[in-house]
Symmetry: C2
Subunit: 163 residues, 2 copies
């Protein structure tokens, strides 16, 4: 129970530790901050917003559930529950795909589209305030690169696309 996979466990150096503390705080606080902004300004959570946003960028405002799940880094189960809720709010609608297998699309309704359009400006502004405009272009670039690198480590072989 005290040896989970290695005899030698190199602890963090003071520099590494300091960096890690900042990163840990970041990945806790940034999602909270974005959730809070969207919740209070538009009555919607960050994840729900991402789902609507992803759909709004599709030509037919339509995407298969498993593709949405991949785009938002969520489990299919989570997504299914979420789509059920969004459906109840009239923002989205389900649609069976006729072909082979048991595939289902989610389609953004007009009301759903209006919701994202209404929510986006304040959301983007907050993202700018907290992240984009807080950093130099070089820092932002590094952050993007570094994020992609870590993501690649988490699940090797994936692209990314959400908002």
């Amino acid at each position: 129970m005290a040896n989970d996979g290695s005899d030698t466990t190199p602890w963090l150096t003071p520099q590494e530790r300091r960096a890690w503390l900042s990163i840990a705080a970041l990945i806790v606080k940034l999602p909270n901050a974005l959730d809070a902004q969207l919740q209070s300004d538009s009555g919607i959570g960050f994840f729900d917003y991402m789902v609507l946003a992803v759909l709004s960028e599709e030509p037919r405002r339509t995407l298969q559930l498993s593709d949405i799940a991949a785009a938002t880094s969520a489990s299919l189960s989570r997504l299914s529950h979420t789509v059920t809720r969004l459906e109840r709010q009239g923002l989205v609608r389900r649609e069976r795909i006729p072909g082979p297998g048991r595939r289902t699309n989610a389609v953004l309704t007009d009301e759903g589209y209006a919701k994202v359009v209404a929510a986006a400006p304040a959301h983007v502004r907050r993202v700018r305030d907290l992240v984009i405009d807080a950093l130099t272009p070089t820092q932002l670039r590094t952050l993007g690169t570094v994020g992609a690198r870590v993501i690649e480590r988490i699940d090797p072989g994936r692209s990314c696309s959400d908002d």
Copy 2:
């Protein structure tokens, strides 16, 4: 409803957008990955682990609830519920502070201490694999700096200390 706080909402440039997509994926996936590792190796969530870890670094393995909440970026309510659960598992114990006000300490039990000690190596290894060792020292340094900067924007005036 279409104008949440500004007439001119500068959208993201393609570079900014690409960076933001990486960052968004990062703040969703990294917590999930850490949670999954801790859950499967030690049967404990990331947040619970942080609470125990913070306590384990105190001289008397004791800290006031509101200080733990601050150190882990959580609400007092969330922390109180969590401490109740940890208490039920025998990992922590509550202790009223006699002085003024209605202050309460959480104290790490021996069992709780054993738990963190057992969980830490695999957790640290995962943090190394995913983040620390995936980046150059310069990138890590930048990431730390940048994290601190964003945190400062989120709630101005705070230090950080957790694991």
